[in-house]
């Protein structure tokens, strides 16, 4: 009863949204897809900013929309972060932060102070929006949303309007939200990198429909994921820092299937991290390989094979302990090695991306 | 090229066809008779009279500032005299073409009695009058009211039109119950065209002498002289009196 059940049908000229979803009531759920896939429209339906012709929306046991019910946006206990911060130009930062706070009747799970601290905007309070940088504006926008005390946070590509530098500035704050807020976050994105860093669940959308959804690790490891990720194909593993080698400046992160050596980023042992392993960085060998520059070699078993975007390429899913990795091979090398389900293989991992 | 030049020739022909046309400025109260007279004038002489209407004061301002009028039919006698003195009218062409008659008129058929006693009763809200500073009919009305010692009583009820035409408009739409207007505005062929009225006896005010004059611009236009002369013909006189004007 603590989840979100959403059914929407919406007919626009040239676009149809048709979804029937059960979303988890905690963690970050990424609505993922190309532009035009309907992810933002779905988010707006959840917020009540669009009114679908047919719809039913239940949030933690409360009906927000059905045949006879329509809770207007301003009565829904949501927080919404838009692509651009959309701060009110006539108010300074504090005025913007107070706008929703003054009107909110829901429990203040995140107080104003906490929101200011979380987003690091204490020094900006007296400034007018037009004197802020894009990154600062978006941080204020997020804090303004948090200050309302939402029971669910809806974020519409909050980083899309920012350049790489600003993205790097804000991502850590979003990761803190993920770790520190007890409320569900629905996060619209078309960036696999953002999704890998932030999401616990993923809803993949295409042409106004949901094409796949589930926990992040499992869903990304599915070879039949209807959305082609191309160079971004890969998996995300939950791991813990197990050992730090100060002599070689390396750290070992342990996941359910083994350990991977990576550059030491100064993280303490025991720290929970995420590791993203892209399919293009994984290769397979039938015999235990000779010593090479590749540090990370794990034993696994081929689980399944599937075609990739290019006819010369294959994606191979390999079971490693309790985890799964995806490797990209050429069809020829797969044929030469006799890669088939059940074959024991050595998995060589060239590089991993570590995310706190 | 050929078509263009013939077009230019045609335009020149129109511009120079002025010779038998006369531009006449007419005081507003004389609008209706002037139209009839102009039609007769064209029929009998072949000249064409182009009429412009307005209050005497406004027409004076326009003439002083170079308006192309050639004959002026004013609502008074001092404006044509002033123009003559200023050299904007041809000396010796001034004459009284009509003597105006003032009427207390109401659009309501039963309201105005034969003696104008309604003025004394005060039983009305608005009395429309032409601006007495600029309109002779307004000035005559003030003179009459002063003589009858009624001015102080009725002045608070004045609503002032910029000309006699607007005073009539206020009354004819019923917004003012009473008005002082020119008889010519409500009179045709011996009777009132509508409403009720009291024709103010001529001895109660100075006569409203309406003078005509040939303007400086019309000095060399034979049609201007012809129109001025036509106003004195029996046919023109008949038209003028049919609208309730007197003659000198």
């Amino acid at each position: 009863m603590d989840g979100i059940n959403a059914q929407f049908t919406l007919d626009w000229p040239g676009f149809t949204l048709d979804v029937d979803l059960a979303l988890p009531g905690r963690g970050v759920t990424a609505l993922f897809g190309h532009s035009g896939s309907g992810k933002t429209t779905l988010l707006r339906c959840l917020a009540g900013l669009e009114r679908p012709s047919h719809g039913r929306l239940e949030f933690k046991g409360k009906i927000w929309q059905d045949k006879d019910t329509w809770l207007p946006t301003h009565q829904r206990p949501i927080g919404y972060v838009f692509q651009e911060a959309s701060l009110f130009a006539h108010l300074n930062v504090l005025g913007n932060l107070n706008f929703g706070l003054k009107r909110s009747t829901t429990a203040q799970r995140v107080g104003l102070e906490q929101a200011i601290e979380l987003l690091g905007i204490g020094h900006l309070l007296e400034r007018k929006p037009d004197t802020l940088s894009g990154g600062e504006r978006q941080r204020v926008g997020i804090a303004r949303t948090l200050a309302v005390g939402p029971e669910i946070l809806l974020m519409d590509e909050p980083l899309a309007a920012l350049d790489l530098k600003r993205k790097q500035e804000i991502l850590p704050y979003l990761e803190r939200l993920h770790d520190e807020l007890a409320i569900p976050i629905i996060y619209v994105s078309h960036s696999p990198d953002e999704v890998a860093r932030l999401a616990d669940h993923i809803v993949a959308m295409d042409g106004g429909r949901v094409v796949a959804h589930g926990p992040l690790g499992e869903t990304l490891a599915r070879l039949d994921l209807p959305i082609r990720l191309g160079e971004d194909a890969g998996v995300v593993l939950d791991a813990t820092v197990g050992e730090v080698d100060n002599e070689w400046h390396l750290a070992r992160v342990d996941f359910a299937g083994g350990g991977l050596w990576t550059r030491d980023r100064g993280l303490p042992t025991g720290k929970r991290v995420r590791v993203r392993v892209l399919a293009r960085d994984v290769s397979l060998a039938v015999h235990h390989p000779e010593p090479s520059s590749i540090q990370n070699v794990l034993d696994g078993t081929v689980e399944s094979l599937a075609g990739d975007d290019h006819p010369g390429l294959l994606l191979v899913r390999v079971q490693v302990g309790a985890s799964q990795l995806v490797a990209r091979l050429t069809r020829r090398s797969a044929a030469q090695l006799g890669i088939a389900p059940g074959l024991p293989v050595s998995v060589q991992i060239k590089s991993v991306a570590l995310m706190e | 090229m050929k078509r263009l030049s013939s077009l230019i020739l045609a335009l020149l022909a129109i511009a120079t066809a002025h010779a038998d046309e006369v531009q006449v400025a007419v005081a507003a109260n004389f609008t209706a008779p002037a139209k009839e007279i102009a039609a007769e004038f064209t029929r009998q002489t072949g000249h064409k009279a182009v009429l412009s209407f307005g209050s005497t004061g406004k027409l004076y301002a326009q003439i002083s500032n170079g308006a192309p009028f050639e004959v002026f039919l004013a609502a008074n006698d001092n404006t044509p005299a002033k123009l003559e003195k200023e050299g904007k009218a041809v000396t010796g062409t001034r004459f009284t073409y009509a003597v105006g008659t003032l009427i207390l008129w109401s659009a309501n058929p039963g309201l105005v009695d034969a003696k104008g006693d309604i003025l004394k009763s005060g039983n009305f809200k608005h009395l429309a009058i032409a601006n007495p500073k600029t309109a002779p009919y307004g000035a005559a009305a003030i003179e009459m009211l002063t003589g009858l010692k009624l001015l102080a009583a009725v002045q608070p009820k004045f609503v002032q039109g910029e000309s006699i035409a607007q005073a009539f408009q206020f009354a004819s739409t019923g917004n003012a119950e009473l008005s002082f207007v020119a008889l010519s505005q409500v009179f045709k062929d011996g009777k009132l065209t509508s409403g009720s009225g009291w024709i103010v006896p001529g001895e109660l005010h100075e006569p409203i002498l309406q003078d005509a004059v040939v303007l400086a611009k019309g000095k060399d236009n034979p049609a201007a002289a012809a129109f001025s002369a036509y106003l004195k013909t029996p046919r023109a006189h008949a038209i003028i009196t049919s609208f309730g004007y007197a003659l000198r």
Partner: protein
């Protein structure tokens, strides 16, 4: 320099323009809001009606107002039934006429201001718990402030410049309906050109200063971001 009657006319003009502007500041925003936000079919006809005084000769408006507000007109019969009497030749009659006459000068700048605010600030306000009514006062009005200043100045100045309509329904009563523009007209009619010059110069200076103030005001875009 200016005579007492001139000063009386100026004061009357300022009162008329001020009251008409205040009334339009109440009536204008809802109409402008409807025009800016509605996608209904009647948006076109309503917009056209509001804009009519821009193209109509004042004499047409004045003529119809004179007929409508007169004792035989529908408005006149209503006001008579209400015990107000008829409106022509009264100060409040001029106020009513000015409200019609200056309506587009209030509505159109406001409509532009509302349209330039766009959808986003309204959506943001809704997600921050503001009801539509609340949003109008706490977001739309402050963001449209430059539009309100423009609309107010234009409405006031345009009402000051009103002549044809006043002439048609005013009756030129000193202190009641004889506004400055009519007073100038009278001076000209009376051939008192020196008097006309003095008052006309005051009007010219006023109009120029108003427009100068508008065109040199630091432009501050109403942005939602």
């Amino acid at each position: 320099m200016l005579t007492d009657t001139d000063l009386q006319a100026i004061w009357l003009t300022i009162r008329l323009a001020g009251i008409a502007t205040l009334i339009l500041l109440v009536l204008g925003p809802p109409i402008a809001w409807l025009l800016a936000r509605s996608r209904s079919w009647w948006k076109g006809p309503l917009g056209a009606v509001v804009a009519l005084p821009l193209v109509l000769p004042p004499s047409v408006l004045g003529f119809y107002l004179l007929l409508a507000m007169g004792p035989n007109g529908p408005v006149g019969q209503l006001t008579t039934a209400l015990g107000i009497g008829t409106l022509p030749f009264t100060f409040w009659g001029l106020v009513v006429a000015s409200v019609f006459y200056s309506l587009p000068f209030m509505v159109q700048p406001l409509q532009n201001a509302f349209e330039s605010i766009g959808e986003r600030p309204l959506e943001v306000a809704a997600t921050l718990r503001a009801s539509p009514f609340d949003t109008f006062f706490s977001v739309v009005l402050p963001l449209a402030r430059p539009g309100f200043i423009t609309a107010g100045i234009l409405t006031f100045a345009h009402t000051v410049g009103e002549f044809g309509v006043v002439l048609m329904i005013g009756g030129n009563i000193p202190g009641v309906t004889r506004v400055a523009s009519v007073q100038i007209y009278d001076h000209v009619e009376e051939m008192a050109y020196a008097d006309a010059h003095r008052l006309a110069a005051v009007m010219l200076t006023f109009s120029f200063l108003v427009l100068l103030a508008m065109y040199t005001r630091r432009p501050k875009p109403a942005r939602g971001d």
